[in-house]
């Protein structure tokens, strides 16, 4: 089972009622898996005519209180931005998986991390946030799915699982099991037919003066709660480190190897791996920067998350960058070389 299939099965276990999607490489195993498995479970699979339609089908299912998801890859996610903005305005839960590939434009079909800006800044219009999870193994990708659905329902937000072509295609041993989910609020806002109760309206248009500002501030308060409660981050041997390498997703796994090798060479290196990319672990990184040390950010892009790391470090320490864009994958040796150079260690 590859990462794409594993995430699909995990979504089914997490109670996904409906999947809507459009083919795009490198995530085609997701719709193919869902096309077979969802009907077996008596649930809904629809191949949409476009990503635009897919995200709006998610919108429709979600508006009636169902757990709905879609998946795509970078160019398709661009098309979904309109829908994500509307989902955010209407405060509808949704889970969107982006198995990133190289860009801009049609780019290529190689793994990449070049959609970090789009994912964490909200590629659509308006004042909104989406929760972004950046798993770094197939097991973590699997574990992300129930969490994504729970977070989406709890905060009535879009949760994006930001994977990449490597994770989607990679096979690793995994454990698939149903876990106890969070206690979630009732969906009393859902459109189920106004019988005895008052009419429910799902909307994102607020015309009277001040009414949209009120909604924006309500959203802001919600986002503050997410920032307070939902940051996930992993760190390793940061305490005595002269250099801390920050990376997420697949890049973080390569960094892990490079940092271990550096330690073997006597370089005091550590790493920090943001798991939630929004909310970003600003506090954890800022704390690490309280002692003087060098930060090296490694990404499979020409530098996107590095901007958040700089915001977290706020000039307290130098933040350097090493990246490989366009489908390039940094090697352990490349990263180790960077670590050596930055810590003024000669090449062995």
């Amino acid at each position: 089972m590859c990462g794409n299939e594993a995430l699909a099965e995990s979504a089914i276990i997490a109670g996904c009622d409906a999947y809507f999607g459009y083919p795009i490489t490198p995530q085609n195993e997701v719709p193919a898996y869902m096309a077979r498995r969802m009907p077996e479970e008596g649930r809904i699979f629809v191949q949409s005519e476009s990503e635009l339609a897919a995200i709006n089908m998610v919108f429709g299912a979600s508006a009636t209180g169902k757990r709905a998801m879609t998946s795509s890859s970078s160019p398709g996610i661009s098309l979904m931005q309109e829908g994500i903005s509307y989902l955010s305005g209407a405060e509808l839960p949704a889970v969107v998986v982006n198995v990133m590939r190289g860009g801009p434009g049609l780019g290529n079909i190689a793994p990449s991390q070049s959609d970090y800006f789009q994912a964490t800044r909200g590629g659509g219009h308006g004042d909104y946030r989406t929760i972004v999870l950046g798993p770094s193994s197939v097991q973590e990708l699997v574990d992300c799915m129930p969490l994504a659905f729970d977070l989406a329902d709890q905060y009535r937000m879009t949760v994006m699982v930001l994977a990449d072509g490597i994770l989607g295609q990679m096979m690793e041993p995994i454990v698939l099991e149903k876990k106890q989910g969070r206690k979630l609020p009732p969906k009393d806002w859902a459109l189920t037919g106004a019988g005895c109760r008052k009419q429910n309206i799902v909307r994102s248009l607020w015309l009277p003066e001040g009414s949209l500002e009120e909604l924006n501030n309500k959203l802001l308060n919600k986002y503050k709660q997410v920032e307070k409660n939902e940051v996930l981050c992993e760190e390793y041997e940061v305490e005595d480190a002269d250099i801390v390498v920050v990376a997420y997703g697949v890049a973080a796994r390569i960094v892990r190897g490079a940092v271990s090798r550096a330690r073997e060479e006597g370089i005091k290196a550590g790493w920090i791996r943001p798991i939630t990319l929004w909310p970003f672990p600003f506090e954890q990184i800022s704390r690490a920067a309280d002692e003087f040390r060098i930060f090296l950010v490694v990404e499979m892009s020409n530098g996107q998350m590095v901007e958040d790391v700089r915001l977290a470090v706020t000039g307290k320490a130098p933040v350097m960058f090493y990246g490989r864009p366009g489908g390039g994958v940094p090697t352990v040796d490349e990263i180790l070389d960077q670590i050596r150079q930055l810590t003024l260690r000669p090449k062995t």
């Binding site: 009622d17 809904i44 709006n56 089908m57 919108f59 509307y86 037919g193």
Partner: protein
């Protein structure tokens, strides 16, 4: 003894609308409300309001409603109906919404045979944004973006969406009606009711009623003249009647 012969139907809210004098939306809303009450389906109906003048339809129709992105109601309706086959899902869309920006969505919802009811209000112009050309704008019709009148060479011919959709195996009922006289309004109601009934019966496919509707404001006509133009000119390009089913 006094007898009530005409009253507000419960699903139509007791409030004034924001529509211009002589606009057809108010009539169309009332017809839908009457049908929902007559079929007694208020407790299982979900409506979809479009981007356009009717975006606030939920302020007038007392059913569960959602307002969605421009042109996307058929996709949203698909998500709703597939996950809630027992619910009655209708979308209410204008010509800019359905025939222009949402052309792909309506075509493919029809193509897949989604079991939804579509009310397509065709007034040959974009109302909300100030009277620009719609795909259904008539030849020579002056709009904000066709100041010299629509020309076939430059802007193409008025798009006949109902004829197009009627060719799809996935559509089961397509009818074009008009709001230009009392008789026509009654006929429109009959058509919309039939479209709802088909969904209630679980008929396999999409049903759509196109409603030719006046927009006196952006046709730059009096409400009376607008009704006349609708009856005498629009129906020539958009012939009334049942196209399918």
């Amino acid at each position: 003894m006094m007898k009530t012969v005409f009253k507000r139907t419960p699903t139509l809210k007791d409030c004034p609308t924001h529509y211009c004098p002589g606009c057809g939306h108010g009539i169309a809303h009332r017809l839908i409300a009457e049908i929902i009450d007559e079929l007694d389906i208020r407790n299982r109906t979900i409506g979809i309001a479009p981007v356009g003048c009717a975006v606030l339809a939920y302020d007038y129709l007392d059913v569960d409603m959602v307002e969605v992105a421009h042109g996307r109601p058929p996709a949203v309706a698909t998500g709703m109906k597939r996950t809630n086959p027992d619910k009655i899902i209708f979308s209410y869309q204008g010509d800019g919404d359905l025939a222009s920006i949402g052309a792909a969505e309506i075509l493919h919802a029809g193509h897949r045979g989604e079991q939804i009811t579509v009310i397509f209000i065709n007034n040959a112009v974009y109302g909300m944004t100030g009277g620009q050309m719609a795909p259904t704008t008539m030849l020579d019709q002056v709009t904000a973006t066709t100041p010299k009148g629509r020309s076939a060479i430059e802007q193409g011919y008025p798009l006949q969406v109902s004829e197009l959709l009627a060719t799809l195996p996935g559509t089961i009922y397509i009818e074009r009606c008009a709001l230009s006289s009392v008789a026509r309004v009654r006929k429109t109601k009959k058509a919309i009711k039939h479209a709802f009934e088909l969904q209630l019966e679980g008929a396999e496919g999409m049903s759509m009623v196109e409603v030719l509707s006046p927009c006196p404001t952006y046709w730059r006509m009096s409400p009376v003249k607008a009704m006349e133009w609708l009856e005498n000119s629009m129906t020539k390009v958009f012939p009334l009647g049942r196209l399918k089913g």
